[in-house]
Amino acid sequence: MEFNLPRQTHEIFATMARGNFISSNGTRDGMNRLYDIINNPENFDHLQDYFAQIRYRIERGNNFFYFSKIDEAPSLLEKKLETFEKYIDIIDLFASMDNKITIGSRFRPSEIAEECIANVRLKQKLQKIPLYRSETLSNKVREICDLMSRDSFLEKEDEESENYKVLDSYAYLLDIINAIAIYEDGSENGNAGLGIIYN
């Protein structure tokens, strides 16, 4: 069977099979180049056919790609629930910053830490995120960034200055948030009842 694959097929597989996302605005290890290659319609079809042989499917998001398994239905794992509960905490923190961190944002962990020190509400949010080894606030932010980078939602642009960039794959998390439905019960009168402070 002739697949006519791009030269970077191995890199693409190696990245995505590790569970990582490939984002169009990622620059590390030529991620944006890989994105362009998958995004080429001809390549996409070839790659899709090829990976289907080993039961992987390329899923397309808004400016990002990832792998899912064809014959294995996603399941409800304890770990998965934990992970996403943590993500809710992190996204909530990002959403509550003065300078909301979202796709394409660049920031340094120290900036977040500083804002959290200055704002009691943020500080509390940060402190409550269940991570284990961090004591100081800035280390905690660093750990969050590490975690998000490992899951390929962030990218460390510069080792020395610790500059992070939010990748397009972050949209996946936002999509998840968007997909969650909140059941309204009569006793509460909308958001106001929840005591949310919007920035």
Partner: protein
Amino acid sequence: MGLQINVRELITQLYVHRSTVEYLFGNRDSVTVNELMAQGEISDEQYKKLLQQEILYEYHTIVGLNDSVIAMFEDFMEIGEVTPGVIRDYISELRRYISYYKEAREMRFLRSIKKYLKRINIAITREIIKLQKNVDDTYKNESNYRIKIQKLEDYREKRDTIIDFINKSEEIIQEAKNIFSISADTELLGITNELKAGLIENLDYLIEIQTDITDYINKIQFQLDVYKKAQAIKEIKDRGELNYRTNFKQVVEAIDPIGFNAIRSPRTKISIEFLHTDEGHVICQRVAEKYKISRLMARRMADKLPGDFKHQRTEAFIKMDTATLVEKFLHQKKNLFEFLQEYKFPKALGELSFEERITLFVEVAMEYERVLDFRFTLNYHDYEIKGVKKRLGYTLILPNRTTKTKIKKN
């Protein structure tokens, strides 16, 4: 007032201080006088001169290039802010010259008309490229979302302005059509046609940009909405109601990226054959170093092969072969000629021809003279080549009984 400066002087100054100019262009609006001086590229006196010539400006201790210089660079590199004002100027100039030309059909007016038509075409294209780039950059890189939305709205306005200019340009061309055709100037005709085509094309681009901008604004709006929702969900979560008041569980269950479903990437073991190769050895060594396993470090890589290794190898092979051959010969009773004719050589050598065997006979006879018993009598060997009978005489050589054990070359 700045000093009078001519083109040559300006170019010279820019060239002489090119590193300073580049530095200031690269760090617009952020370099202080002290920082510039610390660069060590420019002396106090030179700096003062540049200020006098108004190539540099200094305000509140911040140094910057003259805006005209920056604009020139930006224009050339098609970067920087979108400035539709330029096109407006061109259009009004064009109008002016057309009205002059209506009064007096003189070449000099026509020349200016052509110039502005061309400029309009180039300027509009350039502005659109800049616009596209800025829209993209703003969406991808502007970190503050409020400014981001504002900027995008601004670009939407600029886009409308450019569309307006395109329409105006088309109008002017339409109005001036008659006058242009009276002039019977083919060049003018070419330029107008080019401009018309350019305008249509550019309009298409602008429509695309509009879609982009709307798309981007919607995305940002979506993000903001999602963020509000995220805060709401977090609030519910903190109250321990996440699993009861939302469908969190179902949503999480349906999440399919392999990274979240404990589907590990397939792990392949390295093939043993590969480990025996030199590349494999390098990997072995790395592993050995990491885990301090001396056993894996024992095998070293082979030295580099000399360039003529092939040659050397074949030679050595034949020599070794003759030595064992002679050894074998010494342990039997046949004479050398017969022995060599009948000897079954290893398969690796292939089938040896009659001639090759004779060559070998001569070689052995000469090289191992000492261990051989030369009888100085001729024996004859009969053979046929292509039906012709031939006879070959050869010296009878027998194994030397006395030196059987020691083989030594002459």
